[in-house]
Symmetry: C2
Subunit: 291 residues, 2 copies
């Protein structure tokens, strides 16, 4: 089976052409991953914009029409919409169709999908392309946003090597670095590396709320960087956080412990301890590769 | 008195040509703020680099020689070095000399300087140019780092309007937006907008220390942005935090309260409350102008 065979589709359907969905559409066009690209959007205005876009061949308001007959379906709607759409999509997709999503939580979606697709001739493997930003909406879409970013696949135990390879090739073609992980482990991991930072950034900027608002005008890049992600869509983030609450609560507890360590070192004048905390932080942070 | 008169010096001396010092040197040359630019550096290697740099006319190892006869002296050494250098510099500078610093804490420095310069014919006004980054050292110096950034002056009650105007003009010529504030108020403000973010970023990345280090490889821009400033020099930050401990301890307490609000909303399934916290954070963050 040639590599090309694994990333060549007759028709791909993007369900929900937001920032990620439209960006994927652009990549699929650019990399010629599918001949035809259809999209499903509830909003008429969005459909019009899509149909005028170079990446989109047809924008449909009927989910059944949009996904039937496609051999690649990518769900780019919010997590709770994916949950509702999955049972229908599972009924409608054709034999051999590869279904995936881009949701930032995987355990629940993958459990639902596992039960639905079990013994079907189509299949579902969850994806979490870690791209995007605090910006949202099609207008920020770009085929560049996936480049050199991580994408995590969370295949069930029923996924075959060939299926995993197909999805891996698709994301690699888009420019991503792909790894596999159990859905449960994924959710635990993102609690620490994505959701806890969001809570920290939000709590930090909220801390300034009780202070003189004039102060914020004097902030430098430190506060800007540290709180940037707090600009994310609150409705979307509420859903993500609520969907991963146990893992995140553990993370918050740990962060509070760390903050208390700083506070104690400060108020008891233990400058060595303060230095050690800052030195550990620098060493940890320097391990993260910057763009 | 013409505007030009206020920002034209015969000789400027940069004490400590690090990231900020060398960048100021470059600006002074570029904007022709002084005819001659001298610098004082303890390190021989640094002096050699300075003397080869276009901005620097002479690099000296003797502080007395470096500052005597200059009519602008800018202290760019760490806060505890400034504290030690001030009494000597005050003795050596010539009549009419304007002395300032770039320290990120102002109360202590300005109190020391006020006592030293009181009734002298030279004068000191504290500055805090809010530029620079987690990077440090001359090699990152650039005349661009001050552009559109805030600079806070903390004049004592003895500072004359003319003196304040001179210093204001100097920083404006460099590209900064200048405001005045009492030194004490400045230190309280930076605790919230600069030091607390540094503690938050450091505590956040330290929280991940107990977790699988493999996870960090999967982080996206969220964790990167939120923890970027934790890469700052731990020795320098230890000094800054220790010098402002009471204000920062209050900030940490407030941040912990905010984090507990998130945790409670999560574990008690109060999604409305969770939404409100995220929505407030977004509104607050959106007020910060991005670059």
């Amino acid at each position: 089976m040639a590599q090309e065979e694994l990333i060549s589709f007759d028709r791909a359907t993007i369900v929900g052409p937001g920032l990620l969905g439209a960006s994927i559409g652009m990549c699929i066009r650019e990399k010629k991953i599918a001949d035809q690209i259809w999209t499903f959007a509830r909003n008429e205005n969005k459909r019009e914009i899509c149909e005028k876009s170079e990446w989109c061949d047809r924008a449909l308001s009927d989910l059944k029409v949009a996904v039937s007959g496609s051999d690649l379906v990518i769900l780019c709607t919010p997590v709770d919409t994916i949950r509702k759409q999955l049972p229908e999509i599972c009924k409608w997709v054709k034999r051999g169709c590869m279904v995936t999503d881009v949701g930032s939580l995987k355990k629940e979606i993958c459990t639902i999908a596992e039960n639905l697709f079990y013994k079907k001739e189509s299949f579902f493997i969850g994806s979490h392309p870690m791209a995007g930003s605090e910006k949202e909406g099609m207008e920020y879409a770009s085929s560049e946003i996936f480049k050199h970013r991580n994408c995590i696949l969370t295949p069930s135990e029923y996924a075959t090597d060939r299926q995993i390879k197909m999805l891996t090739n698709m994301w690699q073609a888009v420019g991503m670095q792909v790894t596999e992980m159990k859905a449960e482990k994924h959710d635990e991991m993102v609690a620490w590396i994505s959701h806890l930072p969001h809570v920290a950034a939000s709590a930090l900027i909220n801390s300034l709320c009780s202070q003189n608002s004039y102060w914020m005008e004097h902030s430098g890049n430190g506060l800007r960087d540290t709180t940037r992600i707090a600009s994310g869509n609150p409705a979307m983030w509420k859903e993500i956080l609520a969907g991963n609450k146990k893992n995140i609560a553990k993370g918050i507890e740990r962060l509070i412990t760390q903050l208390n360590d700083f506070k104690q070192a400060l108020i008891t004048d233990r400058e060595d301890e303060l230095y050690n905390l800052l030195d550990l932080a620098k060493k940890m942070r320097d391990q993260l590769k910057d763009d």
